[in-house]
């Protein structure tokens, strides 16, 4: 019934992978005053995030956002809301995620949006929404903001996946509200935003019940949903608001209060430029330049200026302008811009400029403040998320360390995230430096630091490096395994040029697959499973004729004929 309502506008929708409707440039910055689909309200320590998706305001024309279904535009608002709640509303300790529309919580990602998107867009969309949900989960675990999904209607597909990202799920027991994963039985694809992983790994739903649930298009309602662990509690309609509020209050009571006011996040307002075949954007600490013809982007990050804040008050005074926060927000914005708006860019050169000692000093200051100050801790978490975003960006990443660079501490993480690092040696050398930031506060999706992941075979090396207080020149860094190559003055330019030219000539598909496999050595976590296993399978299925072929289920969905499958198992 629910997906049915999404279907009503199939007939005026352009079909499939057609590049006919060009993707408009997507901007990721927004503000509650500009939200179209999300209603954010506050009652002391309890915030209410209500989905009220406006049907006729899709991100691009060609589909209708029926039944609180979402597209990237909706998710950008959601990501912004989660982010602002962390920084601007420290008083909030419980967030109720619910729907402002009757009978429907959320019907998931809009099927016709998916059907009319390019494959690359779908993959990036899926990745971005996954990152948003992980950030929401992180807020529950690390920021003392507990998300409660108040399912006052049907939560289907991505709608239920959003609920799964919340810490607690309350389902209205009104005979019609249900949770469901109709993707496999109706569309022949997967719930690809962490759903399957979270069912068995996070909620520990028994795999046989998860199997039944994931093939039952109409989903599961009421007490059975609770018995199967699909939701945490059910509540009759007449008591629903009361139950949700009581649950929110319980979370509030169990969560310590944060001291001090929130920190506003102003718009980044980069200066965008165009110069012949090159385009780019200059933020305060980050600049990005793109050479379309060469399929190359260059990101340069400036280190901090001046002395680091010595107290929580001093950091608060800097607010959103504090280097770590400002820089990581800028880098984050540049990365999502690259992913969505520059699909043809294959290689990103990562550069830094500034004083490595200053980076280390700022790092140590932030880490020391983060022990007691919520804001410092939030800045650290933001940094962590941005570095993960870098790890998960499907572009080749080369760090280029030059004499003017400041690959130290936080910025050395950027080099560690890269697929390779070229550090200049010889007369004028590049130096790299470590800080406490490199030894734990910024773990990757696999739960390990980038150094620990790098030296998986030799954990002792990491221990040794912890004692390394000096800056390390390129030659030495090469010996210590911290950079990949250290060409001298004679070779530097040629080596780097050739490496770039070689890299951009390789198949982008193979590179994406290769990099994703090499970047995440070490243990599996829910997070790595979501990105590496669930998303990879989903991306494969999304390409297959059984989903998107002429008679595939996704193609045929909403049409008068039934799909036809190629029955051979792969």
């Amino acid at each position: 019934m629910l997906l049915d309502a999404q279907a009503a506008h199939w007939f005026n929708t352009p079909m499939a992978d057609a590049p006919s409707a060009p993707m408009p440039v997507v901007r990721f910055e927004t503000h509650p005053s500009r939200y179209q689909h999300i209603k954010l309200s506050f009652d002391g320590p309890v915030a209410r995030l209500a989905l009220d998706v406006v049907e006729d305001k899709p991100l691009r024309p060609g589909y209708v956002l029926k039944q609180n279904s979402y597209d990237l535009g909706v998710d950008i608002e959601l990501a912004d809301a989660v982010q602002r709640l962390r920084f601007e509303h420290p008083e909030v300790r419980a967030v109720v995620v619910t729907s402002a529309q009757p009978k429907i919580f959320c019907a998931g990602a809009n099927i016709y949006m998916l059907g009319s998107s390019t494959h690359a867009f779908k993959v990036n969309f899926c990745k971005y929404t996954n990152e948003t949900r992980l950030s929401l989960e992180e807020a529950c675990g690390e920021s003392g903001q507990h998300y409660i999904a108040a399912l006052n209607g049907v939560a289907a597909g991505g709608g239920y996946e959003l609920a799964l990202a919340c810490e607690h799920i309350v389902l209205c027991d009104d005979g019609s509200s249900a949770v469901s994963f109709p993707e496999t039985p109706l569309l022949a694809v997967l719930p690809g935003t962490g759903g399957l992983t979270r069912l068995v790994d996070k909620r520990k739903v028994r795999r046989d019940l998860a199997d039944v649930f994931s093939t039952l298009a109409e989903g599961v309602r009421g007490k059975r949903a609770r018995d199967w662990r699909l939701v945490d509690e059910v509540s009759p309609k007449s008591k629903f608001d009361e139950t949700v509020l009581a649950r929110a209050k319980a979370f509030v009571d169990a969560t310590p209060e944060k001291k001090g006011p929130g920190v506003a996040l102003p718009a980044l307002e980069p200066k965008r430029w165009e110069d012949g075949g090159r385009t780019g954007a200059d933020y305060r600490y980050v600049s990005i330049g793109i050479n379309k013809a060469e399929r190359l982007a260059e990101i340069t990050i400036l280190g901090p200026e001046g002395t680091p804040p010595a107290s929580a008050d001093a950091l608060r005074k800097l607010g959103a302008e504090a280097w770590h926060l400002r820089m990581s927000r800028e880098l984050d914005d540049a990365l999502v811009d690259l992913r969505f708006n520059q699909p043809e860019v294959g290689l990103v050169l990562l550069r830094t400029r500034g004083d490595g000692a200053a980076v280390r000093a700022w790092d140590e200051a932030l880490l020391s403040l983060a022990k007691d100050d919520w804001f410092a801790k939030e800045v650290l978490l933001q940094l962590k998320r941005t570095m993960k975003r870098l790890d998960l960006t499907a572009k080749s990443l080369f760090a280029i360390a030059e004499p003017e660079s400041c690959f130290a501490g936080t910025l050395f993480e950027v080099a560690l995230a890269a697929d390779r690092t070229y550090a200049k040696s010889g007369e004028t050398q590049a130096f790299v430096g470590l800080s406490s930031m490199n030894f734990g506060p910024l773990p990757m999706s696999n739960g390990l630091s980038r150094l620990a992941t790098r030296f998986l075979a030799e954990p002792a090396r990491v221990k040794e490096l912890e004692g390394e207080k000096e800056f390390i020149d390129a030659e030495d860094a090469l010996d210590k395994g911290l950079v990949t190559f250290a060409p001298d003055d004679i070779d530097w330019e040629d080596e780097v040029r050739i490496a770039i030219e070689e890299r951009v000539s390789l198949s982008p598909d193979a590179l994406t697959g290769m990099e994703a496999n090499l970047r995440f050595a070490g243990p599996e976590t829910v997070e790595t499973k979501i990105f590496a296993r669930l998303s990879a399978w989903q991306n494969w299925i999304f390409q297959r004729p059984n989903a998107v072929g002429d008679r595939g289920a996704l193609t045929m969905y909403g049409r008068p004929e039934r799909p036809e499958f190629d029955w051979r198992r792969t």
């Binding site: 009104d174 019609s176 009759p236």
Partner: protein
């Protein structure tokens, strides 16, 4: 305490005696059904002898038996229309194949949903009508009400039979859930909206049986074509009973109109209300209301579910035989779809919808034509009496809360209007709380004297099964 289910207790033509599994399932369900009936069935008349028709076979001449029975002792039976030898599927992608005697696994969930949705309406209507007996206009009408009620109960049995025979444990659980939901209860409402609307008085009852049961008729006609033979046979037999329900609605409204005309003639201002009757405008408003909520029951105008049901040969069109093309893959239907921008109506555009996706609309179309027939009859009464007023079905866009017109506002002619206009004018078109109150005020005292008839309704031309109109259809101690 378990009741042994026997074919004596449950008249049937499904050889219940030899089906141990089904017997056991029904044994567990039957006491719960009787409890439900006692709790939610007609209030205040459970111990009375009622002159009821009981289905005892499916023979065209003589399928029913008439006698006095206490309602809780009614013999709710399980009857399937006789099988058609070598029946072939008559539409959809499986057209021409043998009709299924068991459920194909791939359609099990979809079919269960269909059966549950249909089944849920049956007890729902009994619940909606449970207090009506307490202000009945006559014993004749009281008996008709109960006849409708027990047969809705039997239709529930018919659906439960399918659930328990063919859908395993899920089916048994769904069968229990049918007894647990309650019409109008926000915590456990009935599945479809119209079945949660209270039926507060007899004008609503007659409107319901005329309009809403007619939706039931078309749903049953569509299911009677199903490739799943037990469903087809069950619904075919249900249709014979459903006809009586619509008869109750049609003649009930007709008798009210006849009486209104009489009262208008009596009054110098032709004011029926002044004479304690129901004025024609009020009747029109009830028609507008119940017709529009019943239109919603057909589902979305453009529906992938409908396409899927048809493609899967699960639900066809009413009387599929009369169509030439039973695959319906090449035809389309033009549907006026509202253009909405930022929540504001910006006109209509005609969309060419693949016919399979428009199957709900195809069925609704037939319903609209069928609904008009009663109005034509009632208008002839007005014409004969020289009254200028004519009843009219509102436009199908009017007062819709499902489908493509939901959330927008249209007048009874189908012209778009603003929300403000709707708010100011709606009680010209649908019953106001005052209308409900007025109609209910005419019905505060039940009529239990067989020789009496309430003032607001005319007596029927004849009684039931050859009995006089003033027969003691219900033996009730007042």
């Amino acid at each position: 305490m378990s009741t042994v289910v026997t074919s004596e207790k449950i008249p049937n033509n499904v050889d219940l005696a030899s089906d141990k599994k089904l017997q056991r399932a029904l044994e567990a369900w039957q006491p719960k059904f009787v409890d439900w009936w006692k709790q939610m069935g007609p209030e205040g008349f459970q111990e009375d002898d009622v002159y009821l028709r009981t289905a005892v076979s499916v023979d065209a001449d003589g399928w029913a038996h008439y006698d006095y029975v206490k309602m809780p002792d009614y013999r709710w039976g399980i009857f399937l229309a006789d099988p058609i030898a070598d029946r072939k599927i008559g539409f959809g992608d499986f057209m021409g194949q043998d009709a299924w005697q068991t459920i194909p696994g791939e359609f099990r969930n979809v079919l269960r949903r269909l059966v549950v949705t249909q089944g849920d309406t049956e007890p729902a209507s009994v619940e909606q009508q449970r207090l009506l007996g307490q202000n009945c206009p006559s014993l004749y009408d009281l008996r008709n009400l109960f006849q409708v009620n027990v047969e809705e109960g039997r239709h529930l049995w018919a659906m439960v039979y399918l659930l328990q025979s063919y859908f395993g444990r899920d089916g048994r659980e769904e069968a229990e859930a049918l007894l647990e939901r309650r019409s109008g209860n926000p915590d456990k409402p009935r599945i479809l909206g119209a079945f949660n609307e209270p039926c507060k008085h007899w004008l609503s009852f007659f409107s319901f049986t005329y309009f809403t049961d007619r939706d039931g008729k078309y749903q049953l006609l569509a299911l009677a074509e199903s490739g799943f033979d037990p469903l087809a046979r069950t619904t075919r037999f249900m249709l014979t009973e459903e006809a009586h329900h619509m008869f109750v609605g049609e003649t009930g409204l007709q008798r009210i109109i006849e009486r209104t005309v009489e009262l208008m003639k009596k009054n110098s201002n032709e004011d029926a209300r002044a004479e304690g009757g129901i004025d024609l405008q009020t009747i029109q408003r009830f028609i507008n209301f119940w017709y529009s909520v019943s239109l919603d029951l057909f589902g979305g105008e453009i529906s992938s579910n409908a396409a899927n049901y048809f493609a899967s040969s699960l639900k066809g069109r009413a009387k599929e035989d009369k169509y030439d093309d039973h695959v319906a893959l090449t035809q389309t239907m033009n549907i006026d779809v509202p253009i909405v921008e930022s929540g504001a109506y910006k006109g209509m555009k005609t969309e060419e919808v693949p016919l399979r996706n428009a199957m709900n609309e195809v069925l609704r179309e037939e319903y609209v034509v069928d609904s008009q027939r009663g109005l034509d009859k009632w208008n002839r009464i007005l014409e004969k009496a020289g009254i200028a007023f004519r009843f009219k079905l509102p436009h199908r866009r009017f007062h819709r809360s499902g489908g493509i017109y939901a959330g927008l506002h249209f007048d009874t002619e189908g012209n778009p209007i603003s929300k403000d206009v709707w708010e100011t004018k709606k009680y010209e078109w649908i019953p106001s709380p005052a209308d409900d109150e007025y109609v209910a005020s005419l019905m505060t005292k039940p009529i239990f004297d067989p020789n009496e008839m309430a003032n607001w309704i005319a007596p029927p031309p004849r009684g039931i099964k050859g009995q006089p109109v003033n027969y003691q259809y219900v033996r009730h101690e007042a």
